[in-house]
Amino acid sequence: MTTTTTVKVAGHQEPSGTASGSSRRRPGRLRRIGLPYLLLLPALFFELLVHLVPMIIGIVMSFKELTQFYIRDWGAAPWAGLDNYKVSVDIDAPVGEALLHSFFVTVGFTLLSVGLCWLIGTTAAVFMQDAFRGRGLLRALFLVPYALPVYAAVITWVFMFQHDNGLVNHVLYDQLHLTDKPSFWLIGDNSFYALLTVSVWKGWPFAFLIVMAGLQNIPNDLYEAAALDGAGMWQQLRRITLPSLRPVNQVLILVLFLWTFNDFNTPYVLFGKSAPEAADLISVHIYQASFVTWNFGTGAAMSVLLLLFLLVVTGVYLAVTSRGRKASHAA
């Protein structure tokens, strides 16, 4: 991103530089080109330190047989070649089968969670667009789940989801009689819905916030013109709001997707170290494969596979959406 900008600026300046004589041009030009890089250096350093180095160490680990016998001196752990990967992708054996199951659960969970977060966030933002009494208060209230510390928020949900004296069963069973007996939410199949509920509750305010910011940038004239032409609210939404939000949504969906797919805190606080099968998200699954069974090599291999998958998804998503944007710009 930065590179292209710099080159463009430099290219643009070139004619004037040529005119002012060649003796003073070179150092000045170098300084101009060099300065952004110099300013970026600290960021680059910490980016390497915080992200890239652990990533590379993780990739190295994935080729090692890193079990409890070697963690004290993991340089001494024998190389495992592709064994860790073979174990992870062999879907006929239990480890690979469990990983694949966990992958599908995570994909389903992410699609539902991101979809609902976006839908609820956008709906709320659109309705909050017009000024009315108490709007500021409501906006602040909507952001509370996003502002709460994850642990405090999720542990409260744990209490509410309890079988014997949780609020959820009290409402659904004792008050509304919707179920014929109290349900389990933290174990068994319902745990998926419990997880989804908490995830959406926690995630939609972010969508709300971003979409709300995006809506501020749509000129009011457009709506007025549309109203004059006889467009109803639904048509205004479809023809003006959503197309104008396109670039915002593009980033929003991607960020929500990555966060949700990788979410560790929510399932970990809800279910502890061993998540129920129905809600076995991949991040906790990998945690269990490495920390709880002390097999860090296999855990690292699974992480690398996850990284590759997310890279591919992100790459394809960006390619497809930006092509779509270019096309619409051209038209």
Partner: protein, 439 residues
């Protein structure tokens, strides 16, 4: 342009090399500690009391006493059980850890395999008064047999059956059940009075494994072959796991709601008089802090299949307890040894084990009158005659995780009203066994 790119690449490569080298730094420690900082010690204590605050209150006066005697300042951190094993693993990986630490005694062999803990050979044991000072059963849970122990016993605990005297009287039950059949029969009388029968932590992986291990003993299943290979799917192992889960699924003495318990809710249920019975290790201090008077409950040995508790199939508890270990990378080896000596001295053993309602693994301290109350007599007797150590193999902590999780899933099935059969138990155990490390 090209120069800049080259410089940037160079900086990147250098950074990478530097940081990578720094990360590897932790693993240079080799043989076993130094004495570079003789005046301080860091100690990771496990959470023994009802809360971390209570533990600090119990430990601090003793640490002050130690500082007075030796001039060594001990910085204590009480680590919650949910974090302790991870913290130890991280410390082992990085080489940055405490000098002295508490470990769950069942982890001894697994942690021994990492090589992160100081081995207690006869010479090292000699510095704290010799191996003979300790009770045999406690020493049996300090590492793989035939190797030098990885830790020293600190507190010993055993499972017992805690029962609510009033609920028993109301239901017309004269004495606590001695066999599982009696327990189930008593359960019917208790349920007739509208009370819950037996509490359990169905979603707590460690609790599950402790119970299943004892049921395994009673059914003659060892879960590991003599040469340390996992053996989870034998008919006896299936029968053992099924009998435990059936307490909820078939006998209905464990309430279905307990399938999701993992935060000691079953102890609260017992303390508040909701359930009549609880299988727990050294619960007295915990019950007291939850407001249950000592006169309100009785303590009896955990039931067996038939007859009286003893060895092998008459086993009715695991050897539960806490060991104290010295981290190999310590920079105060002598101080750490002195501290272990202090904590396992007769006097400190009496003070600490009284505070935590555990039993001293030190013979001389066990003789004290404080450990001869009826409650402690049951625990002491269980430890001496009918408790067995969990398998002392390197893969023990993995066994806890995978089998404990299998039992958790089976409880979830039982709670949802799905049938728990020999086949479903066997399938769960098969899956657990396949997750065990291949080597």
């Amino acid at each position: 342009m090209q120069t800049i790119r080259a410089v940037t690449a160079g900086v990147a490569a250098l950074t990478l090399a530097l940081t990578a080298a720094a990360c590897g730094g932790g693993s240079t420690g080799d043989d076993g500690g130094s004495n570079k900082s003789p005046k301080t010690l860091t100690y990771w204590a496990s959470n023994q009391g009802a809360s971390i605050a209570i533990d600090k209150k119990v430990l601090q006066p003793e640490l002050d006493k130690f500082e007075k005697q030796t001039g060594i300042k001990v910085k204590v951190e009480v680590v919650p059980w949910s974090d302790l094993l991870n913290r130890i693993l991280t410390a082992t990986t990085s080489g940055q850890g405490p000098d002295v630490l508490n470990i769950g005694n069942t982890w001894s062999a697994s942690l021994q395999a990492t090589g992160g803990l100081l081995a207690w050979d006869d010479k090292q044991f000699g510095k704290i008064g010799g191996k003979d000072r300790f009770v045999e059963s406690a020493l049996g849970s300090t590492g793989v047999q035939g190797q030098d122990p990885a830790a020293v016993p600190l507190y010993s605990m055993a499972y017992a059956l805690y029962y609510n005297k009033k609920i028993f009287a109301d239901a017309g039950i004269a004495k606590p059940p001695a066999t599982w059949d009696e327990l189930v029969a008593d359960g019917k009388k208790i349920q007739a009075k509208g009370k819950q029968v037996l509490g359990a932590e169905g979603a707590n992986v460690s609790e599950n494994i402790h119970h299943v291990f004892v049921f395994g003993k009673q059914h003659g299943a060892a879960f590991f072959t003599p040469d340390g290979k996992p053996d989870f799917t034998s008919d006896n192992a299936v029968a053992a796991v099924k009998q435990y889960v059936d307490l909820m699924a078939k006998d209905k003495v464990i309430p279905q709601g307990n399938a999701e318990y993992a935060q000691n809710q079953s102890v609260s249920d017992f303390a508040t008089g909701k359930t009549a019975m609880l299988l727990w290790q050294s619960a007295s201090a915990n019950l007291k802090s939850q407001g249950m008077a000592e006169s309100d409950y009785g303590i009896a040995p955990v039931p067996v299949q038939s007859g009286t508790p003893g060895t092998d199939t008459q086993t009715n508890s695991m050897v539960a307890g806490i060991n104290m270990a010295v981290f190999k990378n310590t920079d105060n080896l002598d101080g750490a040894t002195q501290f272990v000596k202090f904590m396992t001295s007769d006097e400190e053993q009496k003070i600490l084990n009284t505070a935590y309602s555990s039993i001293p693994p030190v013979k001389a301290a066990q003789e004290d009158a404080a450990f001869n109350t009826p409650a402690n007599a049951v625990l002491k007797n269980t430890l001496a005659t009918s408790a067995a150590a969990l398998p002392q193999v390197a893969a023990e902590s993995q066994y806890e995780t995978v089998v404990g999780t299998a039992v958790k899933e089976l409880f979830a099935d039982a709670a949802a009203g799905r049938p728990v059969t020999d086949d479903s138990v066997k399938a769960a155990l098969e899956k657990a066994q396949q997750q065990m490390p291949a080597k």
